[in-house]
Subunit: 335 residues, 2 copies
């Protein structure tokens, strides 16, 4: 089965018009970036599609939370560029068998998440689906041109940070799949991480405005994959210390009950939608300080950028390469 990376390579092989001067970034970052004629801010744009049976399972996903999540995964991409989300479009392919109350609930959750982020729904498309529900969302944002954060700006020696815990969403997904109601009830934070992730909008803005950060990406595919993207775009490698992986007590406990390895979830589990970013060591205290401020949440230092390529994990034994173990929808290892 063809992978997303392979598809993008194929797209790049087709003849295309030369990149126009007002396009700052096309395919290959969390958002595309362009400068509308005469504008003093840059425009950001991103799109993400959620397909029933591939990205979500309505047998356990409350429709309102699904609507929230469809917004969140796109808002997270704007956050990863340091931007302010402004406008959204929603395309829904709706099964003829879907109850109107469930359509309403999806809309309500989606609009709730937009309103919370100060974003206006300005368009979209609703079509009939003979099969499952598909939600395709586009979000437009803006960012000052001096503050936009790409995946490509990391320098060797920069420290690598993540916001929040790793592997939470993957543990939540495993709990949902396993289906034991009593066990699920024990770990509301893990379920939330899977069902209704929160985009790091305020943190992304604060980091962009701090001027301290050199590169940033959001954690959609898992640490191994997302850090590998950042490394590739920055032309560097990364060294991650296994003992620094931020894994919550809940995640460890639930993993044990489910027969999973929490470090595996932290490395390869996707959809945490936290931010992964790099900054010079001299910025360490200032960045740690950001976490204590209005931004909330925790920032964790997990390693550093190194010369070379690929993502190395150092632990008790010899360091090992972990890149490309993250989730690819095409590999089909998800609901």
């Amino acid at each position: 089965m063809i992978s997303e990376v392979e598809l993008i390579k194929r797209i790049r092989r087709f003849p295309s018009p030369p990149s126009p001067p007002d396009l700052l970034k096309g395919i290959g970052d969390d958002c595309a970036v362009f400068r509308p004629g005469g504008a003093d801010t840059l425009s950001l744009i991103t799109t993400d599609t959620l397909v029933e049976g591939v990205h979500f399972d309505l047998s356990w996903h409350p429709p309102q939370l699904l609507g929230q999540k469809a917004a969140a995964v796109n808002l997270s991409d704007i956050a990863a560029m340091g931007g302010i989300p402004r406008f959204a479009l929603l395309s829904m392919a709706i099964p003829t068998t879907m109850a109107v109350s469930n359509v309403d609930a999806v809309l309500e959750g989606f609009l709730h998440a937009l309103t919370h982020a100060g974003v206006s729904l300005i368009g979209g498309d609703t079509v009939r689906s003979d099969q499952g529900l598909t939600l395709s969302v586009t979000v437009i944002g803006e960012v000052e041109s001096g503050q936009v954060l790409y995946r490509s700006g990391a320098k060797a020696g920069d420290q690598i940070w993540v916001s929040g815990w790793l592997g939470q969403a993957a543990a939540g997904l495993a709990l949902c799949r396993q289906g034991q109601a009593e066990r699920k009830a024990l770990y509301p934070a893990l379920l939330d991480a899977h069902l209704a992730p929160k985009p790091e909008t305020a943190l992304g803005r604060a980091l962009a405005q701090s001027g301290l950060v050199t590169a940033m990406i959001d954690m959609s595919d898992g640490l191994a994959s997302d850090l590998a993207h950042l490394c590739e775009e920055s032309g560097l490698g990364a060294l991650v210390r296994a003992e620094s992986l931020p894994i919550s007590g809940d995640c460890r406990e639930a993993s044990q009950a489910l027969g999973l390895v929490p470090e595996g979830l932290a490395i390869s589990g996707g959809e945490d939608f936290s931010l992964l970013f790099t900054a010079p060591p001299a910025a360490r205290n200032a960045i740690a300080g950001l976490a204590g401020q209005a931004v909330g949440g925790q920032l964790h230092l997990i390693g550093e950028m190194i010369e070379g390529q690929g993502v190395l994990l150092s632990g008790d034994g010899p360091s090992r390469h972990i890149e490309f173990q993250g989730f690819d929808h095409f590999s089909g290892d998800r609901p």
Copy 2:
């Protein structure tokens, strides 16, 4: 089954943040319109989703032409605002069973149409589908703020124009559904209208720049529906003369062979993607002149805007209301 109009009403009932001052038009036109901070042009954005089994049938739709069409239906929305298309995003939900050569052909057709329009592909998403192929496209355009054309600007007494023939795409669809190869071969223009419609990009720009046009919409749902949208947004009614409906000889001939009424296709057949616009009678010669210039194509005068509401068709007998006979995907009367 819930209709798109009903869904939009439901969306409007949910609490939402006040419309920001830089948003000029949200839901309810061919594109949303906003002015990025400090920009001297307006940004246009539109999205349309094509679902296998609802909007297209791969048993007769060559994948390359399908890719072209997915671009065209969005480029047509930019044309209907008088804008210049600039950037596109493509989300593909790809069945695991789809041959890579067919995925390539869809991409090739899509990129060909973009390149022809001077548009850059700047992002998207590729996900696995357990069911059919879904193509969700977003196109961003720009337009000078004095030249943007909404659905809402028509005045009573304005004449109503359409570009090109009506009912061509519906006749082409009927030929494809009926499936007789010999008959299909007789009507390449009808097949083209269904399989690979051409957006009226140059005409839309010329009309916007002429300063003669008061309102415009693209013909995606059929004359009755699209003119009803323009009437509703302009707070007026419309009178269409049946004898002025531009129906091609091909359409009449194929309709007869298929047992269809060509006037019915012209009124209710969707997806012609021609432009429907209004202009004062004094502009008549100047507009007719535009058709003869670089723009190419034919412009047809079909009626005029009147006080009141609804779309009236005048013919041999008494005038009758024809609005809301156009295609709604949710009514399910298509492949």
